[in-house]
Amino acid sequence: MKVSLFITCLGDVFYVNAGKATVELLERFGCEVDFPETQTCCGQPAYNSGYRENTKAAAKNMITSFAHSEYVVSPSGSCAYMFHEYESMFEDDPVWQEKAIKLKEKTYELTQFLTEVLKIEDTGSEFHAKATYHTSCHMTRLLGVKEAPFKLLSHVKGLEMVDLPNRHDCCGFGGTFSIKMPAISEQMVDEKVEHIEETEAEILIGADGGCLMNIEGRIKRNNKPVKVMHIAEILNSRGEV
């Protein structure tokens, strides 16, 4: 099965290990992974800030970059969902709208692809730690991927999963929200970190670069002893430390 990786800008620049793990994981399950090099950013920061016109060029670039892909897989729920927004963005442009719909239909978030397309729940992974999982808002509420990460993590040997209290609350990232409303965002991320600490987990796992960057950034600033990891890194682990 041919899979094109939509790495996301944060994945390309900051979370390279999560990207590597994603490639290795997909290959382990027989996927032929390619990386269309013309991809940039999905445009979400501009789109969600109200700059729809400024987002259209990015959207067209992404649509073209993945035009020939069979499947598009992304290690980020909110970026994968952004491809769903392109359809309404081109409501006055039927040619691009049709292309946008095609892209949307073949795009999957990583855990969604593993469980829905590859029909895998047990990745044969091993990772020894006590961990908790942060449910990202766009991935669960907009993309509708709710159970896949939990199913996959439940099969990881050695991994003790603890429920994160109030897990459905936003971590306070919200893209440009974290920059425009820093005082409110700070309270939200602090509340999230408090709940993470309550679990006494060593690792916080997530499936969205934006949320992880926010939570990890706050954890580091306050020197909390919690490590933040992308779910691809856990699922790609074979017990090595």
Binding site: D12, G50, N61, D169, F177, S178
Partner: protein, 479 residues
């Protein structure tokens, strides 16, 4: 700007909210309770999503045919001997109500809870005219006693106060001597209010839903105060937003069920009162004279616009009860009597972007609001639509932001520029790196790094790794 509350500046209001630990404690505990009650009541219904679909369908059909149903409603009210007045503006509504009250030479007005009368600031006008206005909803009563503290929530207006604060208000203003036990506080308020009901000249109510087919209107309460307000005084005035209408009793049934479950997690509230016109000759209870004031005040501009769905709102506040931003800043920070996600959508529509342009940004777009809305209003999407209007139509976004976004657009449209920019990034940020993180970022990064670390852009980006790997022949990609 009658619906405005608190200080003018948004940031001052937010800071005040964030600094109020009592308020935040009260809001956090109320939200927790309301969220779990709502979830329980929704689950109990079995097929909650289908109920939401039905709710959405009813509201959508009603708004599409609003002119017809308003016409039918006013004809039916008139047939039953009631008076109907369409108020285009807040001033029109206030003037009409004032005239009715003046004609009756009324001095004391008893009111049951009504957000639309808060919106048009009716109490201020009536008090200016020399009337004594008594709010009889317990929450509203507490706020009124507390020097007209504004509501911070559309269902539980005094949500920002805890029971100790309420005890202190009663003690200071009314000589209350008992404890902060809710039963004792409520009993005391009942005793005070009973006198007011019996001596009021005019009763003013809001309206949860008007029923077009019979010219009736329904009030949903847990205290029974609306029933007192609508039966004891000889003259009754009901004020409704023009969208608060259902075609028939059948739709009323569905929407009341959605409302009470979504709002407070109850199958039904203690009282659902439905009234039709003034009392008949053979009836004992009810007003001798009945006026229905239907308020537009900016709503008709929403009809046919991209915000029409905001008119579907049934004022349950489920969106407010799940909103994490609301939890931290509280209702007053919104500067409007309509707070939370629905407030951030409708306040700029009713009050304009000049005064409320920050509200659509007071959301992380987490979508919790959209997920719980019992009539499926896409609230977070409407906030993005507002942002788009502010940026693209009103041109009200700041210059620095516009420049950043233009730069973003240039870089993301071209893989070459993106490549150069991401390649250069690790070198550009070098002066700001400490212990492997960016801790004091420049320019637009500053608000981020003021409170969090930012990871350092990697010199070997993912795309570099992938390319090297391909060249090394270990990958299978086509590049």
């Amino acid at each position: 700007m009658p619906m405005h509350i608190g200080e003018k500046e948004f940031t001052n209001r937010v800071d005040k909210g964030l600094g109020d630990d009592f308020m935040r404690g009260a809001v956090r505990s109320a939200q927790g309770r309301l969220q779990s009650n709502r979830a329980g009541a929704a689950e109990e219904l079995g097929d909650w999503d289908q109920w939401r679909d039905l709710g959405q369908e009813i509201r959508s059909h009603t708004m599409e045919n609003l002119d017809f149903y308003l016409q039918q409603l006013s004809e039916k009210v008139a047939e039953r001997g009631g008076h109907v007045y369409f108020a285009e503006t807040a001033d029109d509504a206030n003037q009409y109500v004032s005239e009715v009250i003046a004609k009756k030479n009324a001095k004391k007005i008893a009111k049951s809870k009504s957000m639309v009368t808060e919106e048009i600031a009716l109490n201020d006008i009536l008090e200016e005219n020399g009337c004594e206005v008594v709010e009889t909803d317990l929450g509203e009563y507490i706020l009124q006693i507390d020097d007209n503290d504004p509501p911070s929530h559309i269902v539980a207006p005094a949500l920002h106060k805890n029971k100790e604060q309420i005890r202190d208000v009663f003690k200071e203003k009314l000589g209350y001597t008992n404890t902060e036990k809710p039963e004792e506080l409520t009993l005391f308020a009942r005793e005070q209010l009973r006198k007011e009901f019996l001596s009021a000249d005019v009763g003013i109510t809001g309206c949860n839903f008007a029923v077009a087919e019979s010219g009736s209107f329904a009030l949903v309460t847990n205290e029974g105060n609306a029933r007192m307000v609508s039966t004891l005084p000889k003259t009754q005035i009901t004020v409704m937003g023009m969208e608060r209408i259902v075609p028939t009793w059948e739709e009323l049934d569905v929407l009341v069920s959605l409302l009470t479950r979504a709002a407070v997690g109850q199958k039904l509230t203690s009282y659902v009162t439905a009234l039709t016109g003034p009392k008949d000759e053979d009836e004992v209870d009810g007003p001798e004279e009945f006026h229905l004031v239907i308020v537009d005040n900016g709503r008709s501009k929403m009809l046919g616009s991209e915000f029409q769905e905001a008119l579907h709102c049934i004022r349950c506040a489920a969106c407010i009860n799940v909103c994490p931003v609301y939890r931290h800043v509280g209702g007053h920070a919104y500067g409007s009597i309509y707070p939370g996600p629905i407030g951030a959508v409708i306040t700029p529509l009713l009050g304009g972007y000049d005064d409320y342009k920050e509200l659509p940004y007071a959301s992380s777009l987490c979508g919790a609001c959209t997920e719980v809305c019992p009539v499926k209003i896409p609230l977070h999407e409407q906030l993005i639509t507002h942002r788009r209007n502010i940026v693209e139509e009103e041109k009200k976004s700041g210059l620095a932001e516009r420049l950043v976004m233009q730069g973003f657009s240039r870089v993301t449209r071209s893989s070459k520029l993106f490549n150069v920019a991401t390649k250069m990034a690790p070198f550009l940020v070098t002066p700001f790196v400490e212990d492997g993180s960016i801790v004091k970022g420049p320019g637009p990064i500053k608000p981020w790094t003021n409170i969090r670390d930012l990871p350092v852009p990697q010199k070997e980006r993912f795309r570099d790794w992938f390319k090297t790997r391909e060249k090394g022949g270990t990958g299978h990609g086509q590049g």
